[in-house]
């Protein structure tokens, strides 16, 4: 993911410089060259179109495989509060709430950190070994496998959270919505930080210089030039993080407490859709149960699509 963004930025930068075109070959265009051009065009079209087919294929598969559960449970699947595989009662409401609660809470926790990193690296110290170290470290956060976050969370973070919970006098299980939001927040920082940094760096120098020449301080430049110029990019980064948080499975499963009850507070244990699927899929031993888990996957898919679409709208609104 990070690598892709890097490539994206680099391409944009090299576009600014201007793509060098080999001039010596111009006179020797042959039919073969032109035909190869056509083949290449078709090839990239099919490969790119293949992505659309694949996504639609996934959607169709999910719908078809979950038809058994859709028939038996109907729409109450969405707001049913009981998940009881023994009696074939399936309601995903607690998991839906758990997923959205952990993701948004993680987003709220992570935003100050990722924006700080983006501004620090993009505006204050874009060059030098300290910023490079910081940048690489932040990107490394995204490279660490999530199961490692899970282990670390369970062994190190949860006991600290438990002490914190005891200190403020709430439920002291340690694991729960709050603990998983913390883990998620750490995991999603690099996504918005990296994209944010590239955006901040792309603010045209003459705009900033104009502001400085009018006597603006650095903070004023950030506030009235950099942030307005980059807000759609920063928001796109936040959306990317949110997508990551919604689908994260392993680390969340290990620290969320995995109860099929509606969480009473952010310190209560809960469950997310992704972790229910991961937990129960291997031993789903009768057809309706398996189908209900696939329908859960379908709901997660749709939630992600809807949130992404809203995000796109907002990004568009910002850039106007």
């Amino acid at each position: 993911m990070i690598l892709n963004e890097e490539a994206l930025t680099q391409r944009v930068v090299s576009n600014d410089i201007g793509i060098s075109v080999k001039k010596e070959g111009r006179n020797r265009r042959s039919v073969r060259h032109i035909r190869a051009e056509g083949v290449f065009k078709k090839l990239i079209f099919f490969v790119a179109f293949g992505m659309v087919v694949m996504i639609l294929g996934i959607l169709v598969t999910l719908v078809v495989q979950s038809s058994l559960s859709i028939k038996s449970t109907g729409l109450s699947f969405l707001w049913g509060k009981v998940w009881d595989p023994v009696r074939d009662i399936f309601g995903v409401y607690p998991f839906l709430v758990g997923t959205i609660l952990t993701s948004f809470l993680a987003l709220v926790i992570s935003i100050p950190f990722s924006f700080a990193v983006a501004l620090f690296l993009g505006e204050y110290y874009p060059k030098g070994w300290v910023p490079t170290l910081l940048k690489d470290t932040v990107e490394l956060i995204a490279a660490v496998p999530s199961v490692i976050y899970g282990f670390w969370g369970l062994a190190v973070m949860v006991p600290i959270v438990r002490k914190f919970e005891a200190a403020i006098g709430v439920q002291t299980t340690g694991v729960g919505i709050f603990a998983s939001s913390l883990i998620l927040a750490i995991m999603i920082i690099p996504y918005s930080a990296s994209l944010g940094r590239s955006m901040v760096q792309m603010v045209p120098g003459n705009l900033k210089e104009a502001a400085y020449s009018l006597g603006a301080t650095r903070w004023e430049v950030i506030k009235s030039v950099v942030l307005p110029y980059t807000k759609s990019g920063l928001f796109a980064g936040v959306m990317l993080s949110l997508g990551r948080a919604l689908g994260e499975t392993m680390a969340v499963t290990m620290v969320i407490g995995n109860t099929a009850k509606l969480p009473e507070s952010i310190f209560a244990p809960g469950n997310t859709m992704a972790s229910v699927i991961a937990n129960e899929f291997t031993e789903a031993d009768h057809p309706v149960y398996l189908s209900a888990l696939i329908e859960l996957g379908l709901v997660l898919f749709l939630v992600t699509v809807v949130i992404n679409m809203i995000g796109k709208r907002l990004v568009k609104g910002f850039s106007k």
Binding site: V86, G257, T259, N279, E283, D285, H286, P287
Partner: protein, 357 residues
């Protein structure tokens, strides 16, 4: 240098012999016949892996076992993608009908147990549990460790006034299945409210993923109680409860007491739940783990040679293979279970004729 030459020579000999083998029609079949695939339960995987690698040393038979969970194993067998399945729970009615018209034979291959583990730093004595207390803790009716019901059977133990935190498995598992099957048998309330299965709607408590997840939660949380596999608890030196069995004795879970639990009359089809065993010295939350094989083996162009090899393998597993159980903390099969398994293996047919005599 000489060794290198020797290796080269033997290598080329092997190549020629392989080339020769492939030339004939039977050559390709014999390599396919020498690989058996299976899929299913994760619980017996360490034992099965050991058994298959030992068996491979003497017979060169290659067994490819995927420990993807009992549910997955049953599904792969239903779709006839594997030669045998493995499950911690006998097939239920729904699954049996899904497999029709092919009936599957359940051969007991090993036994395991689920122990109740707890974290009470102040309490040095081993906690004793009755089925009634255990069910009520997991139902959320007993909330404190110094509850009079617990104190009544633990007269000498110093029980603290801490809250009980229940920890259960979050992932669907054979361990949960055995545990909930036991609770359903001993407590009608549990049976009607929760029931049995590899995943259930737990009335109280936190979920941990895998044995290590439950163990981790229990170790971290004072006053917690959870359940893990016997082998896992022994290997990690965890403290576990003595549990009162049907005969009224308090039994410490161990390899011996699990084997004892399986030493009861086993029905001819091998499908028996050992939970709440009648055996006087048997640990009550024990269970068999089965190998599932279709009764009629002539399907998907399978050769008789392959079927014979597979059945011989299973036969070896329930006899000589059992020596590897105890070192890995699995309970060896009881003599009664072995004889039922032997009889079942002889009922398996190829094109209507029994394979093993």
């Amino acid at each position: 240098m000489l060794g290198g030459v020797a290796m080269l020579v033997s290598g080329s000999v092997m190549m020629t012999s392989c080339g020769g083998g492939n030339g004939t029609a039977s050559g390709a079949d014999s390599t396919a016949d020498n690989t058996i695939t299976g899929a299913g339960a994760t619980f017996p995987n360490p034992l099965y892996s050991k058994m298959f690698s030992e068996y491979n040393k003497t017979t060169q038979l290659k067994v490819n076992y995927q420990s993807i969970g009992s549910g997955g194993g049953i599904q792969q067998l239903t779709q006839k993608l594997v030669d045998f399945g493995a499950s911690d729970a006998p097939l239920n009615g729904k699954q049996d009908s899904a497999m029709m018209p092919m009936a599957a034979v359940h051969i007991p291959a090993t036994a395991g147990a689920v122990v109740v583990t707890y974290n009470l730093p102040e309490c040095k004595d081993t906690i004793k549990m009755t089925p009634e207390i255990l069910a009520n803790i997991f139902l959320g009716n007993i909330k404190k460790w110094n509850d009079p019901k617990i104190a009544a059977v633990n007269k000498t133990a110093k029980l603290p006034a801490t809250d009980i935190t229940v920890v259960h498995r979050s992932d669907g598992s054979g361990t949960s299945n055995i545990f909930t099957t036991y609770l359903s048998k001993v407590n009608t309330d549990w049976d009607s409210k929760v029931g049995k299965g590899s995943s259930v709607n737990w009335p109280v408590g936190l979920g941990g993923k895998g044995n290590e997840g439950v163990a981790g939660q229990v170790k971290q949380t004072p006053g917690s109680i959870g359940y893990v596999e016997l082998a896992y608890a022994i290997q990690n030196g965890m403290s576990f409860c003595q549990l009162q069995n049907k005969a009224g004795n308090f039994i410490t879970p161990s390899i011996a007491s699990v084997t004892a639990a399986a030493n009861i009359e086993i029905p001819a089809d091998g499908k028996v739940s050992l939970t709440n065993t009648e055996a006087a010295d048997g640990y009550p939350i024990s269970g068999l783990s089965w190998i599932l094989i279709y009764k009629e083996q002539k399907y998907n162009d399978r050769s008789l040679a392959k079927v014979t090899k597979m059945l011989k393998l299973v036969q070896w597993m329930i006899h000589d293979g059992q020596q590897y159980s105890a070192p890995l903390n699995y309970a060896p099969l009881s003599p009664k279970a072995v004889s039922v398994g032997d009889a079942l293996l002889k009922t398996i047919t190829y094109d209507g004729k029994p394979v093993l005599q």
